[in-house]
Symmetry: C2
Subunit: 197 residues, 2 copies
Amino acid sequence: MTRSALDAPALDQMFLQARTYNAFTGAISDQTLHQLYDVVKFGPTTSNSCPARFVFVRSPEAKAKLGPTLDQGNHDKTMAAPLTVIVAYDLAFFDKLPLLFPHTDAKSWFDGKSEADLTTIALRNSSLQGAYMILAARALGLDCGPMSGFDNAKVDAAFFAGTRIHSNFLINLGQGDPASIFPRSPRLGFDEACRIE
Amino acid sequence: MTRSALDAPALDQMFLQARTYNAFTGAISDQTLHQLYDVVKFGPTTSNSCPARFVFVRSPEAKAKLGPTLDQGNHDKTMAAPLTVIVAYDLAFFDKLPLLFPHTDAKSWFDGKSEADLTTIALRNSSLQGAYMILAARALGLDCGPMSGFDNAKVDAAFFAGTRIHSNFLINLGQGDPASIFPRSPRLGFDEACRIE
């Protein structure tokens, strides 16, 4: 069976008309976060390693920890957002492989690797999972404001002390205010970004 | 205006019932690759830096270059696939910022950074763009087989010699053969992967 393309409104919502928002309304419930994760979790990762860890920053106390880590240009909009996701990765992700890849000893493929190699693998795969979260949020009718303008070491100290978990990037979530988007910037043409061999 | 969630068949096609395939049929035309890139390109990246570069490996000559770089378990299925995408990143991505981020001198934010810092940024953002490609392919009715089991240095030598472009991961593309999927492996529960603060 050959599947069809999604219809035009769905492609618009996910990709073509979707935009990065700088202001949001609404509130994000626990139920919505569970729904979101239950979509995100099915995206593919290397050996099903699922190294991403997600902290949903919503309370005033959590926002107070996040605020001082943000670049100036990202501070006010993030403090005002209904919720901010910290997309992070666990360098000890391989400890979960007996659960996640049960049919063989996949843990042994990773647990002797160097910190640098583990970081490459975890950064690659948690970024995939962060992209799944952006697109899953859009698929569920939410809007996103992803950002990497913050101090990773400060976020790690504030949220992940005593672990091997490290921050990757942030996503503000909510109902986007159309007045808060910038005009769309250009993209690379096919021949600048792609090659068919 | 509050957007709705995509309908159940669309969520299934993108996430919930989508699977990693190991065998494919069909052929991928140039037109399909242009359609695919025209969806992928709109996904968000840091400062709209769009560091991903994509090589679509389709001809016997290109497959002959890719074959010797693959891990044994990925060789035959990749050689048999209609097409394999090399998702790569350009460490000199900032050279495109005058085009991509024209309203200020964004190039200066990056071009003095260390190779290690540029690699982190390019790996993060090209992985996002690789995930957009996986999900855009599914949205257009194609199936994917993403892989990181190959020799990155050999791919770089075979496809990107004399540039600052480096391979990230690979995606086989086509119409997936349902007989080629493995039973779905477990995922982490919400409380293992997520925390609400």
